[in-house]
């Protein structure tokens, strides 16, 4: 969330990277008479010698490997501890390692969270923890205290259940927000496709998996993997090697080593041919597109630098994919590719967001660019632009001493040649167009990709059939569960009709007799909608008077009144005030009818039984209702209980549960209604029947 705040503040400064490709014109000579000929572009001075900064290293008896980069410009020291273990599949506890990492910062056996927070802030330090390590930094004068705190966190975390509970609450809110975020959905499903559910890289946290995690699980994880013998400590700043040796021995010398099991997941295979997957977002106006597959490309391997050049030409910045899809076709605001190296399994991935109507054209253009880089040699000026750009990135990154520490750790972790980074620029300069085509042939696979489209299935599915090679499109939900959209609805048994379904529903809630005894009804409900407690009061009077009030405390936000013939929407706090007309009025007439289920024929509502479909784990009859206004809704009635459990309409999904009996009639006491991106959970507080409501309650004036 802090990031969000920073973005909000930063936006005010309107920082904008200027990467706008446009028509290139040749440089004209300046027309003015000037002493200096400004049309002459200055030539670079002789290239400076680029020294990769020096580092020192040593190892403690417990196996902790330490790297020291001295930099005395600022009296500050930072410590970055990384634990090098292969991630483990977490199954029904996905997300557990993340929680364990966060919990390290929430208290030790010596300090409560409050004490720890105060001690870190008191010395003005930064200290953060994750599932793979701990970062800490402070001014040199607080160095002793900083290391005491860091070592305490690393060696004596307390894993208190109440601290985990706070983190879980936050994570679940985060997941709720993600359900409406196409980027987050694409991330979850594309890694599932590329790596598979059994691979730790393919897993994502779900509400269920979060619930399954306990503090004991987190502690067990910590005990298995937070060991010095798989640790790399990078120390950067105002410190010498001799000082670092003493301090590491003093603070981390007692950290006990023990064997760590390195899990080896099965290497995911390339799909034999392209596979298309969809996550359906019925309201989406854009498609989030990912095209990717696993690659076997290890950090520091012989191909790594060539592959980096090749991917940059293709889409690692404002290059080919960007120029084609944005500058030329205007399908999108941006289009990029990544080719990641990894010790276990790397990944190629293209990402872009496009209009629904060009989803197929965009995929064709991505494949066009993927084929082009495999087949054609990159023109020399394009290659040299990319190499210069990468060379500059590398040189400029050396300003940060952390870069040197990262180089040192990567060299040790991945077993690179000692001079791998020293030779980096030389090897980059040596990459030629043939190399680029060769690595493209090896790592760019336009025939073996997972194509994931997160968008409106009804619009985009027909456009995607051409990419599957005759296979069916796969459908996934947010949690990665695959379903078959064609077998979702099964035919209803012979002889069953929509009228029968409605009849058994009426019987299930108490029967026609009991329903007809209702002369008026008062229902109070409330929800905590995005932070506010909001009350919903509903009043109905037979045959068709209706009033609904929405408000908080004494405030009334909106009121809807129907007096049997006319309806009005009133917004006392500002907003819309209007008399309902046309279709809106027609819909209101149906809505206001007491026990509308008994009167559909009279109201002109048409019913169609569409079949049997599973809804929230139960078999349901699916009935389509068409109202006089032309609007439609789909209702789901539990085959066993007969009760209505779900309704799909224009606004989104509504569910009904917790049926309770009042005056011999069952009413749902838990109603949830989707409204655009949010879901409102309505809790019924009370229902009163026949309390003799007065007619003037429904007066529209």
């Amino acid at each position: 969330m802090k990031k969000l705040i920073i973005i909000i503040i930063a936006t005010t400064f309107a920082v904008l990277p200027q990467f706008l490709n446009a028509q290139v014109k040749t440089v004209k000579s300046g027309g003015k008479k000037e002493v200096l000929d400004r049309s002459v572009r200055p030539q670079p001075a002789p290239a400076p010698v680029i020294n990769i900064g020096k580092y020192e290293s040593f190892e403690l008896d417990n196996g902790l490997k330490v790297f020291v980069v001295e930099n005395h410009k600022i009296p500050r020291i930072s410590y970055s501890l990384i634990l090098d273990y292969n991630p483990v599949p977490e199954g029904n506890m996905a997300g557990m390692a993340d929680f364990a990492g966060q919990m390290l910062r929430t208290g030790t056996t010596n300090l409560t969270k409050d004490e720890l927070d105060e001690a870190i802030d008191f010395i003005g330090a930064d200290l953060s923890t994750s599932s793979t390590g701990v970062y800490a930094s402070a001014l040199k004068k607080h160095n002793g205290q900083l290391l005491t705190l860091m070592a305490d966190i690393v060696m004596n975390p307390s894993f208190k259940e109440e601290e985990l509970a706070k983190l879980k609450t936050q994570a679940i809110s985060g997941l709720k927000a993600q359900e409406n975020d196409p980027d987050a959905i694409s991330d979850r499903i594309s890694k599932l496709l590329v790596y598979g559910a059994a691979h730790p890289y393919g897993e994502s946290m779900t509400e269920k998996s979060v619930e399954n995690i306990s503090a004991d699980h987190c502690r067990a994880f910590y005990q298995a993997f937070f060991k010095p013998n798989i640790g790399y400590m990078a120390i950067v700043g105002d410190i010498t090697k001799a000082e670092a040796m003493d301090l590491m021995q003093k603070h981390f010398g007692n950290w006990k080593k023990s064997e760590v099991i390195q899990f080896m997941p099965e290497t995911p295979a390339l799909p034999a041919s392209n596979i298309v997957a969809i996550v359906d977002r019925p309201g989406a106006v854009q498609t989030a597109l990912r095209i990717g597959y696993p690659v076997d490309l290890k950090p520091g391997s012989e191909d790594a630098i060539k592959a980096r050049v090749m991917n940059t030409v293709l889409g690692g910045g404002t290059f080919r994919l960007f120029n084609n899809l944005r500058e030329d076709k205007a399908y999108t605001y941006g289009a990029y590719s990544q080719l990641n190296t990894d010790k276990l399994t790397g990944r190629f991935n293209v990402n872009t967001e496009i209009r629904n109507s060009v989803t197929d054209s965009a995929i064709n253009e991505v494949f066009f660019e993927m084929r082009r880089i495999r087949e054609e040699l990159v023109p020399e000026d394009e290659l040299s632009l990319v190499k210069n750009y990468l060379n500059g990135n590398f040189a400029l990154s050396l300003e940060r001493p952390q870069t040197i520490a990262n180089f040192a750790i990567s060299t040790a972790r991945y077993g690179l040649d000692a001079d791998y980074y020293a030779n980096y620029m030389k090897n980059l300069a040596a990459v030629n167009a043939e190399d680029v085509r060769a690595v493209a042939g090896k790592y760019i696979k336009p025939e073996n990709a997972y194509i994931l489209a997160v968008g409106k299935a009804a619009d985009i599915a027909p456009r995607l059939g051409q990419f599957t090679g005759g296979k069916a499109i796969r459908y996934y939900d947010f949690n990665g569960k695959e379903y078959d959209p064609n077998t979702r609805v099964k035919p209803a048994p012979e002889g069953m009709t929509a009228e029968n379904v409605l009849k058994s529903y009426v019987n299930a809630i108490g029967g026609e007799k009991a329903l007809n005894k209702i002369k008026d009804m008062t229902m109070m409900a409330s929800t905590t909608m995005q932070g506010m407690t909001i009350g919903f009061d509903f009043y109905r009077k037979s045959p068709n008077k209706y009033m609904m009030k929405v408000g908080a405390g004494e405030m009334v936000f909106q009121k809807m009144v129907f007096d049997g013939t006319a309806a009005k929407l009133i917004s006392p706090m500002g907003g819309e005030n209007k008399v309902l007309e046309g279709n809106e009025l027609e819909d209101m007439k149906v809505e206001a009818e007491m026990n509308q289920e008994l009167h559909y024929a009279k109201l002109g509502v048409n019913l169609t039984l569409e079949g049997i479909e599973e809804a929230d784990g139960a078999e349901c009859y699916r009935v389509m209702l068409t109202y006089p206004s032309g609007k439609q809704s789909t209702q789901f009635f539990d085959v066993k209980s007969g009760l209505k459990v779900k309704e799909l309409s224009e606004q989104g999904t509504a569910t009904f549960g917790d049926y309770r009996e009042v005056n011999g009639v069952k009413f749902p006491f838990a109603i949830s209604q989707q409204m655009g991106p949010q879901t409102i959970d309505l809790k019924v507080l009370s229902i009163k029947i026949n309390s003799k409501l007065k007619d003037d309650l429904f007066n529209i004036n």
Binding site: A14, P44, D121, G575, M675
Partner: protein, 441 residues
Amino acid sequence: MNTFRKAFLLVISLLAFILTSAQNRIDFTEYDLDNGLHVILHQDNSTPIVAVTISYHVGSKNEDPERTGFAHFFEHLMFEGSENIGRGEFDKIAMNAGASLNANTSFDRTFYYLLLPSNQLELGLWMESERLLHLRIDSIGVETQRSVVKEERKQSYDNRPYGTLMEKTFSAAFKEHPYRWMPIGSAESINNATLEEFMEFHSIFYVPNNATLSIAGDIDVESTKKLVQKYFGDIPRGTKEIYRPDILEPVKTAEVRDTVYDNIQLPAVVQAYHIPAKGTPDYYALSMLTTLLSDGESSRMTKSIVDKQQKAMFVGAFPFALEDPGLFLVFGIVNSGVAPDDFENAINEEIAKAQQEELSDREYEKLRNKVENDFISRNSTMAGIAESLSDYHMYFGDANLINTEIDRYMAVTKADIKRVANQYLTKENRVVLYYLPKQTL
């Protein structure tokens, strides 16, 4: 014995402080060219890179209220090319030289930077002098950037959750002063602007006597001076009057409250209090007050409202320091199930506490340690040093504040912090905005 220990600790911390200042000193040379361009050079040969930055003393506050967004629009036009640099080539030349570049526009100034390998210093000076001397502004460039800026506005403000928050806050807080609009300006005024107006704007504000050229990195001072003279020396001084608003925002007499409905999941609350300009003594006290309230997990609002009461996902107090008097902002996003007024009450309780109780010695020491850490850590990159030197010169006429501004923070006493909390964080001096999810009922 105890007293002795305290004295000892004091001496130790003083020593450490002196050492720090000595080690961390940023040396620089500064002078003016005949045309008024102010030049600042900082030499550091440890890495072969150089930051070439130029800052123009024009931000959104210098704009005509009918033509908001001009300063920021210029930031875009400045990448369009010049007499000797074709359209779209500016980026390519930079990339080919292995350089990175960017720019930003604030209420008070516009800042451009190029970070280059040090053997490309001359190229960087040529590029910056080109667009100062003869920027190419034509209708193609203006039209292209018009649509880009409109997309930028949609993406960063209109289409982003809470994206209009600063805009709404500033327009509610300022009625007279030009801080009432954002640097991005209004889409309408950019639409209505003519090519002539853009050229006029350039000729007033994009002149050497309104700019600071700040260079930091692997340079030799004497030869750099010669190169600066070569590329910037013959650029003519501006002749038009540079508009600097002299508008005093009237003192508020009553609290302003408003509600904004936005496409968001969780409500947010903003309080904005008017405060003095940056660089004033009270500004430093207010800045330390924000540290007390929300910097770090143990800060008062974070600990009490986020961690203990769990009323908010986030809460922060920020000193939004500007050249003219600015705002002290308190902003938070409430947790699901919490009423915004409940959250605002929690904020008010913490403010009242800061107004009524003096902070403890330990808490005061914590603030000073945090401020010191932030100050010292700030100048770790060449681009950062060049920008700081430039800002200190432009706002205060004293680039050496890069070394000495910490003293102004350290001069703030516990009593000062309590006093400014009482003086500025009053009900009548504030604007309160509630951001609520759009009602879709």
